[in-house]
Symmetry: C2
Subunit: 265 residues, 2 copies
Amino acid sequence: MSEAVNYSDLKPAEVRKLIREGKITCPTSGMCAGYAQANLVILPKDLAYDFLLFTQRNPKPCPILEVSDVGSRDLHYIADDVDLAKDFPKYRIYKKGELVGEYTDIEEFWQDDFVSFLIGCSFSFESALLEAGIPVRHIEENCNVPMFKTNIACTPAGIFKGNMVVSMRPIPNDQVVKSALITGEMPRVHGAPIQIGNPEAIGISDVMKPDFGDSVTINEGEVPVFWPCGVTPQNVVMNVKPDIVITHAPGHMLITDVKNVELKY
Amino acid sequence: MSEAVNYSDLKPAEVRKLIREGKITCPTSGMCAGYAQANLVILPKDLAYDFLLFTQRNPKPCPILEVSDVGSRDLHYIADDVDLAKDFPKYRIYKKGELVGEYTDIEEFWQDDFVSFLIGCSFSFESALLEAGIPVRHIEENCNVPMFKTNIACTPAGIFKGNMVVSMRPIPNDQVVKSALITGEMPRVHGAPIQIGNPEAIGISDVMKPDFGDSVTINEGEVPVFWPCGVTPQNVVMNVKPDIVITHAPGHMLITDVKNVELKY
């Protein structure tokens, strides 16, 4: 039995404690079954208004679960007893758009003007798809979801602009509508697909060559279905090359106290 | 036939033009049937981040349809060819929390640091209720919807805090669930009820004595149903007594190019 399987039965507060103590530094996929996980973007306050407005104008790729108070390492709504500088297993620090390092604890880099944006994650809707008997190929193939740059312009806000990034899951023909309805019920974790079956229409020339993540098998009788992806806000932020921005390392998320099913309401 | 009935068949752009030219200065209820109308809060930029965060944390009473660019009198998404300083039939200007005047045009008061927040309005879901055969009492009685202060604390954000204001509609017992489902499908115009049938539970001692608007008849076999109300953000802003804030005058809304049915998606 792998470690991840054990962690699947733990409560979020227990796993966050293990992460805070440096005892878990691996990706969080599969931990605390049923609970939502969150992406992270930390920006200085002078960029926070434009970024918050960007997320308001682009809720599908950027569904905000919570925004911290300025300078605070606490959260109030999606999880109790959180230390935002320690409770992600791994962080990435970017300066002027360049990755300068990965850290399991960012306390020493914390600034009083930091605002943390916690953003919904497709792990939540994948769990709903699996429960409904819909296959999720990259989980079956034990790799990262394939992600693509598109020609769909996000709505700009202040200094932030850029195109939407999407994730792709091959869905059997007879389950495509069900997959759209199930994910459409969960707008706080990206919601319904943005494109079904016609990658060229959104500027994707080869579905077997993703821009991020891994390529997955598309079987006969399956349709590539594209959802707005949480890589979008990170990409848009990097375009601006801020003095400093901190994100989670891919797959190394915050485990919240919110159950996936609660994200429907 | 009243003027309002004629306006019900006009396109939003036509009515906005008549309003801009000062030819319509009355409430907009019933105009441009099927199209959403929007509430207005204009604040200086230095308050805009806290207010945007307040709306993000309290989406039920404060569902944002669009936020303007700083200083801009244009909109880009919910309506074309808009002049935010002229396209509401009547505005209210408040200085340090005091109403200083009502105007049909605020061009002369416009500031380069103004940010305009366009907020969803219950007119949209009332239209959906009526289409489903559910009565809307204050429309039948040709008066304003009854509104109440509650003991439900909004989630604070920066300098903004306060309790939720709700609107009440008496609904026949056998249509209560249907009314919750229909409005629940429209989260961008306040969404599902916050309380059904138990006003005391949210701090309302007498449903016949609203804090704002008018009292309406509750017939035998009807239940008072309470929805989050767009008066909430105005109230919360007034608590702060900003140097200047401009709102629409009650009932004098912006008519958007967005159909009510589009607000479901």
